[in-house]
Symmetry: C2
Subunit: 281 residues, 2 copies
């Protein structure tokens, strides 16, 4: 199975792909999220793995937009704890380092470390795994990188320090996308992701929409609103709920919902990540 | 009035501060968002200006967290269209450029430009305005920067190309924070921002919570949920609504809401940005 993801080999997305789809996959690294969607659509990859929300940074709207631009299905999810480690060429030590390279966001997430070590220069790079690759390729003992332990292993770098980040509760939720939908199985805890635009100018429409779920005891797992980039002055809602459209009451809830929306799409029904609670702890 | 913001001189946040508070302000650039909150809390600045959501990237949860960590009040908001321009030393031209420097996110937002000009090397930097400052300081004619037109003016760089970004609908909403709350005035369209954690394990609690607003005809402007970083397995909700707690029915709605939440805070009541619709068009 070929799995497309944004980033170079060793990216956090590749690690999420391993967690979600196992080790018997062939990585298809892509430069942009757009390319990931095109690879899956065109058949260059069998699955795509994309980050959709991060506990510190929030939802990644760009990937919600790409889900709407393409006719792909969410078929799985994976929660990954983001754990930054400091790595350098074998034989290096904290003392030999002068510069540390990573994505600016990762550098900012580790800024307490840099304040404790004012001697070390933070050097911005395109991505975390790319920083690790560049350190391995350049062969300089005074440059380190901040990326995942997985990237260190992949590029044969030594881990000099773990838990570099200020904030330990940093996790990212990834979605697995595919050309064909997943077929719900009984006994498997299933989640659905939908997106809709409520009819405008109806006071309390959101209250009525939530009634569709609440009055059927369907449990909402996520609700988020955002100005619709395609339709000025109206809002898109992203909702995740427990259940599958194969259950009659859920199917009816989705029909009922569409009476109150000018746009609706089921992005996918997929097995809930059994590791979610462990990762979020 | 001294205004703290994250970034160097010329940052998009500084431009938002100008829009929200006028030209008679003294900029107080800070390295981190944390420093912005501390500057306002300690009296080193009179106001702070922080980004809270971006139309492409979503809500900036870190700043919601900092709002909860500090006892400051939201007293205003400003919507800013993000327009990236290419700039370089006076006398440079597109032909003389070899490298273009900016924050990786801004470089990614302009990747169509780089695909059309494969000769140009994208160079990651900590921030957009800092990239402009570094080009001005280094005095090299083969390096450009991508930042705001405001940063180009500030650092006396020539604008070589406007509208560099792929996606024209890119705007950021900023909040103005202060030690003292804004006092609602009649005739001024007012918004309130609140955050709360619903009581757990009550089916349909969110439906009932929205009823608090819907049954009083209070218009919700934003609703977003997010796993609570301080309380595993529970959710925080961010809600903006039209109105002020000085109106009796709104005050009663907030009292009613607190019957259903284990945590509640009014982050501020403030005049709605009159330019919002223009910026979002």
């Amino acid at each position: 199975m070929r799995v497309a993801y944004q980033g170079v080999r060793g990216a956090y997305s590749e690690l999420a792909a391993l967690r979600a789809l196992g080790r018997k996959t062939t990585p298809v690294p892509c430069e942009t999220f757009d390319e990931v969607f095109r690879a899956v659509t065109d058949g260059g990859a069998d699955r795509g793995v994309i980050p959709i929300e991060n506990s510190l940074a929030g939802s990644i709207h760009q990937n919600y937009d790409l889900l709407l631009d393409h006719s792909l299905h969410i078929v799985g999810e994976a929660h990954l704890k983001v754990e930054h480690v400091l790595m350098a060429l074998p034989g290096s030590s904290m003392r030999s380092l002068k510069r540390i390279r990573s994505h600016p966001q990762a550098l900012a997430q580790c800024d307490r470390f840099f304040r404790r070590h004012p001697r070390l220069v933070a050097e911005p790079y395109f991505d975390t795994a790319g920083a690790a690759a560049s350190v391995a390729a350049e062969g300089a003992r005074d440059v380190g990188a901040i990326a995942s332990a997985y990237a260190a292993r992949l590029y044969r770098l030594d881990v000099l320090k773990r838990q570099m980040e200020n904030e330990p509760h940093n996790y990212t939720r990834f979605l697995v996308i595919s050309r064909r939908p997943w077929v719900p199985k009984s006994g498997v805890r299933t989640k659905c992701s939908i997106v809709f635009r409520p009819h405008r100018n109806i006071v309390g429409i959101l209250f009525r929409i939530l009634g569709v779920f609440a009055l059927r005891d369907i449990n909402l797992l996520k609700i988020e609103s955002r100005p619709d980039p395609r339709e000025p002055f109206s809002y898109l809602f992203y909702v995740d709920f427990a259940g599958t459209p194969l259950e009659a009451h859920t199917a009816r809830a989705l029909e009922h919902l569409q009476e109150m929306t000018s746009f609706f799409r089921l992005l996918g029904a997929y097995p809930a990540d059994v590791n979610e609670l462990r990762v979020r702890r």
